[in-house]
Symmetry: C2
């Protein structure tokens, strides 16, 4: 669906809004979903970040308002703004179409912003910690001859269990803060927190369950109800690519975890196509919250400190 | 001034707003300044975070709305919210008194939020990286007999120079985004970005210039004009303590840098009074942005990973 939605928004729009994005960037997807829900006309321009493509090309219209070419970015007339959270608030302030933050209810609006902060500072770091840490391979579990290897494997298993549990705990806290019957965060209508979280709900099954055996939501739970509502929402679906393409985009990090990043950074910023759009964000966010997420995550970060200076941000 | 302001707000307020804070927490100070500018009646309750005080006491009214006792926290009637950024937006949405984000101007509001993000993600990490890294001692520069010591000292000097330059670069970017003649960020009136940044403007001279020789703003510059406006603003001044008390509060980290933290965490969460209110935040934020801030900052973080699990957040 995403491909067709992007293609149908290739021409300049009456709103004079140009949306600079990458179809596979979850932060861009937040803004994309918001635009679709609000029904604001927009032109979409696909940008490939420099670490993904040797022949990186930044559209002049983007550089004009945003010299560092951050995506997602919204150009509105001769003015522009970036950072997904800032753009989301901007679209609310424009007051065009369906509002995502409840108007005239400061307490509910604060509730949405507080849980948006929880998603950004708790859920995303544990999502990326798990994504960047491959589970112990079943093969190495078989040849339990070497004591050292066995101990290493046991410690990997414990770490994987801990990373899954941390992500589940953080999601559970969010679900407990949501409307009792839902299906969305504030009740029957899709809203701000749903849009902020949707790109990662989409990736939980397509990436984390696929590559990390993250448990799928159980039938009958409030969590399952929420996931189903997001997955079947027409506006969300317009920004979702087919399942196989997520497997492909996340294959490098899915199969090799941190090692895929080392390869990518080691060959220089443009050396590898195995890395993901939001990799620089993922590394930073895990660094910030990684204290409680296990030594290995932390250790892996330490060795890459210098490579990461070359990184670009995409949040 | 802060002491008297807090004392004059000890009783329940007609607005039913209770402000749970610590006078020396810069994040709480953001909210405090906003309340003072807006002229919203409030009751202020001082909370001492557990890592500062063995006999930590959390007011039941705080725990009632916020079981983790995060500060700053606003209780409004029987409802509460925390995180300084979320509270600031809540106070805007309440629309009581002077507004800090320009009403009816989505683009200027987005401009304020974009530069608030710059303060949070660029300026604060470089502020705390510099604060946590003591400069090379002049004494060790004298006995240049030992080659290894000399090399170490040279590398410390280079790091200190780099940390100062990084903070200056990030402040300059903000100043360049501000109103041409000011004195405040958006012009003649104090606004959102000023309030978000003010607690650290206050600490630049009292803490970073005092303990780290951070250059004071030069007379005649736009930057100096901004600092002077903040320093002399009556609403800001009501939340500022006398200069000596900042020297005292930041003495541990000022004199020993990371080592003061190690001591604090090493003795258990309640073992030391030398640490600062926002220490957990400082560590996290440096971790996230620390990639570009020099190896030593990073190395110091690595060794403390486990201690930090016990930390509490105060942002």
């Amino acid at each position: 669906m995403a491909f067709f939605t992007a293609r149908s928004h290739a021409s300049p729009a009456s709103s004079k809004i140009t949306f600079f994005a990458n179809s596979f960037c979850p932060f861009a997807q937040r803004v994309w979903i918001a635009l679709e829900i609000k029904g604001i006309p927009y032109q979409m321009v696909e940008v490939i970040p420099p670490h993904l493509e040797k022949e990186n090309y930044n559209p002049p219209d983007l550089l004009d308002v945003n010299p560092e070419a951050n995506i997602p970015c919204i150009r509105h007339g001769n003015w522009g703004v970036w950072e997904s959270g800032v753009i989301m608030e901007y679209l609310e302030d424009l007051a065009m179409g369906h509002n995502l933050l409840p108007l005239g209810n400061p307490q509910l609006r604060a509730h949405c912003r507080l849980w948006t902060d929880h998603i950004n500072r708790k859920i995303l770091p544990s999502f990326y910690s798990l994504l960047l840490t491959p589970p112990p391979s079943p093969q190495s579990q078989l040849d339990g001859v070497d004591d050292e290897l066995e101990a290493q494997n046991r410690s990997n298993t414990e770490q994987h269990t801990m990373l899954v549990a941390t992500l589940q705990k953080n999601i559970t806290a969010l679900v407990n803060a949501s409307h009792a019957t839902g299906p969305y965060f504030l009740g029957s209508e899709i809203g701000y927190v749903d849009v902020v979280f949707a790109p990662w709900i989409i990736r939980l099954s397509r990436v984390l369950s696929y590559y990390r055996n993250f448990p799928r939501p159980e039938i009958g739970t409030r969590w399952r109800q929420w996931v189903d509502a997001i997955e079947s929402d027409e506006r969300v679906r317009r920004t979702v690519s087919d399942e196989n393409s997520y497997h492909g985009v996340y294959r490098g990090v899915g199969e090799d975890g941190w090692d895929s990043l080392r390869a990518a950074w080691g060959n220089g910023a443009t050396g590898s196509r195995k890395t993901i759009v939001e990799i620089s964000y993922a590394k930073k966010v895990v660094a910030q919250e990684g204290f409680g997420l296990g030594g290995d995550v932390w250790g892996h970060l330490g060795v890459q400190e210098e490579d990461a200076v070359n990184g670009m941000t995409s949040a």
